[in-house]
């Protein structure tokens, strides 16, 4: 449905977006995810046509859009600041796109009513934007876009100004709405939780470059770059020296099929397991997250490991513990090179333990 090829944007000396390439299928919701300044909003604006591209192509439904102005593209954008016009009523806001097309009044009225119902704002037609709450305003902004039946819906961090609860609710509503309408959607966010919840696929960006594209689970389990690995979820991290295919990760011997050199090894907190064989350490802190417990463990070598465990484990601060990394992801030069295999033999460290 949407094809972005080598899209580039240069501001002065910096490349805000570098050769971005991806496609979005019909009815898919993809998230552009990344920290502030990574170029995701710029990329979205180029797709919308609000920011002219310095290179590359955009095609929607097979038609080349690159040269087209924003008002001629079959896209509609929901802005971060809702951008409602307070000199118009809700109905006038929503009907704007249709009025521009010159549709008959009766048709417009029907469509506006339908759109408002869709976003759960029946009867809000005569209200003014100043009378609306943040969440209601964003719904009107969404209705304003839906009513023109765009081929691609673009959303630029639309919920970031709302409180957490409201955000979660709107997210769910958006997802079910999007599925129902089979509306191709691109959603920009810096919140990885939001991306994980909403997206069919996530495009992770960093410093203008697309790092990885994939379904949420895939990105979580198999990050292809260090940035992706660090950005999504938490990690225990250490850089080790690989020699002859073997290395020592914080006291745990591992083997990696890779040439000698510096390798960064990452392990997810929930992939750490307690046991009789493992890295020795002492429980420093137990943070109660509600459904899980996050435990900080100080190792003998002075590192801190984060371990996510269930409540019935009942770890006690100060207790001695041994943790084993069940799954270690290996990265060299920022790129994923494989998975490290933990070795079964144990290094005897007790004599060095203070």
């Amino acid at each position: 449905m949407l094809n972005v090829t080598q899209l580039t944007k240069i501001f002065g000396q910096t490349k805000a977006v570098s050769d971005a390439t991806f496609e979005v299928g019909l009815g898919e919701l993809i998230c552009l995810l990344g920290p502030s300044g990574c170029g995701k909003s710029t990329l979205l604006r180029m797709i919308a046509g609000l920011t002219p591209a310095d290179g590359g192509q955009i095609a929607i439904d097979g038609q080349d859009m690159t040269a087209r102005q924003a008002n001629r593209r079959p896209t509609a954008m929901v802005f971060q600041s809702h951008a409602l016009w307070n000199h118009m009523s809700v109905a006038q806001n929503v009907s704007f796109g249709l009025r521009v097309q010159g549709l008959p009044k009766a048709v417009i009225a029907d469509k506006v009513a339908a759109a408002l119902t869709l976003v759960g704002l029946d009867g809000f037609a005569k209200r003014r934007p100043t009378e609306l709450s943040g969440g209601q305003a964003q719904r009107v902004a969404l209705a304003r876009c839906l009513v023109v039946e765009p081929k691609v819906l673009l959303m630029d961090e639309p919920f970031s100004a709302l409180d957490a609860h409201l955000r979660a609710n709107l997210r769910e509503e958006l997802k079910s709405l999007q599925r129902r309408l089979q509306l191709t959607t691109i959603f920009v966010t810096h919140d990885q939780e939001e991306a994980m919840e909403l997206a069919d696929r996530i495009v992770v960006m960093h410093a203008g470059v697309i790092e990885q594209i994939g379904p949420p689970g895939e990105l979580y389990l198999n990050p292809q770059t260090l940035t992706v690995a660090r950005f999504i979820g938490q990690m225990n991290e250490a850089t080790v020296t690989l020699c002859g295919g073997r290395a020592d990760w914080l006291g745990q011997p591992v083997s990696i099929a890779a040439p000698d050199g510096l390798v960064t090894l990452l392990c997810r907190p929930e992939d750490m397991h307690p046991g009789s064989a493992g890295i020795p350490g002492r429980i420093a802190r137990v943070i109660d997250l509600g459904p899980m417990l996050r435990v900080s463990v100080a190792t003998a070598e002075g590192a801190t490991l984060t371990w996510l465990c269930s409540r019935d484990v009942n770890p006690q601060p100060g207790a001695a513990i041994r943790l084993r990394a069940a799954r270690l992801l290996a990265f060299h030069d920022g790129r994923r090179i494989g998975t490290a295999q933990p070795l079964m033999e144990l290094r005897q460290m007790e004599s060095v333990t203070p």
């Binding site: 609000l50 008002n71 016009w85 796109g97 521009v100």
Partner: protein, 269 residues
């Protein structure tokens, strides 16, 4: 934070002094406008009445200049709005070569003493036979309006979040439509305020009317000027109250739409 909170008496004193000095003179005029007989040493008029209102309104030499003034001012202010508001939009929103320089030249023009400017224009107009003509006065009066008509609207346009215009553009409107349906209504309060401010300024302008308009074109402020030194005090007072008080009322209404900060910034603060 209020260092002076400990001395409210000082504040009341300042307020009283200022009230007398700031409002006193105007109050005098207002009282005179409704006085039929006010002789020294009475503190208040001995006879109140609207006699001089009828006198002034009945006089052709008063009514005609008022009509002329209103015609001149309306044409000048409206023309100024027509050419300055789009320019204000350009300065606020568009990027074009020399933008800073051009904007700056408006500030620089403000730094020239107006009267000297009018003399130079008068000499040129003398040669072009434009002295005493309607359009000669209009063009000169437009000059006075220009700064207000560019600065305040530009600040207003700049204050409109770009997302508002982009949203309209994104939904299919042409740029002209975005300007007419979104930008203009959003900026309208400030635009209206700048219009009123410019209007009143031009209405009461003496310098240009005197140098360029006289003697064929007589404007209301010129009548005021000449009647200010007349023996019959009430005549000028009536003119003041008749014309200025409504202006003042309208100006007060539009004050809401002009931030003091915006005005101060317009002068470079």
């Amino acid at each position: 934070m209020s260092i002076l909170r400990r001395a409210p008496l000082g504040g009341i004193l300042l307020l009283s002094v200022m009230a007398v000095l700031m409002v006193g003179p105007i109050l005098t005029v207002v009282v005179w406008a409704f006085a039929e007989k006010w002789r020294y040493p009475n503190l208040l008029p001995t006879v109140w009445g609207l006699k001089y209102w009828y006198v002034m309104l009945g006089r052709d030499t008063v009514i005609n200049p008022i009509v002329t003034s209103i015609a001149l001012t309306t044409v000048a202010t409206s023309l100024a709005a027509l050419i300055c508001w789009p320019a204000a939009y350009a300065f606020a929103r568009l990027r074009f070569p020399g933008r800073q320089v051009f904007l700056f030249s408006f500030v620089a023009a403000q730094a020239v003493p107006k009267f000297a400017l009018f003399v130079s224009i008068a000499v040129v107009f003398l040669r072009l036979d434009l002295i005493g003509t309607f359009w000669g006065v209009v063009f000169v009066q437009m000059l006075s309006a220009m700064l207000v008509m560019i600065w305040i609207p530009a600040a207003a346009f700049r204050g409109i979040p770009p997302a508002l215009e982009e949203a309209g553009f994104d939904l299919g409107a042409s740029r002209l439509r975005v300007f007419l349906l979104i930008t203009l209504p959003q900026a309208m309060p400030a635009l209206a305020a700048s219009y009123v401010l410019a209007y009143v300024g031009i209405l009461f302008e003496v310098d240009s009317a005197l140098l360029i308009g006289a003697p064929q074109i007589t404007t209301m402020p010129l009548v005021l000027l000449s009647s200010a030194s007349q023996v019959i005090v009430q005549e000028a007072a009536v003119l003041c109250v008749m014309i200025w008080v409504p202006c003042f009322a309208v100006l007060l209404l539009t004050r809401r739409f002009m931030s003091s900060k915006g005005i101060a910034q317009g002068f470079g603060a």
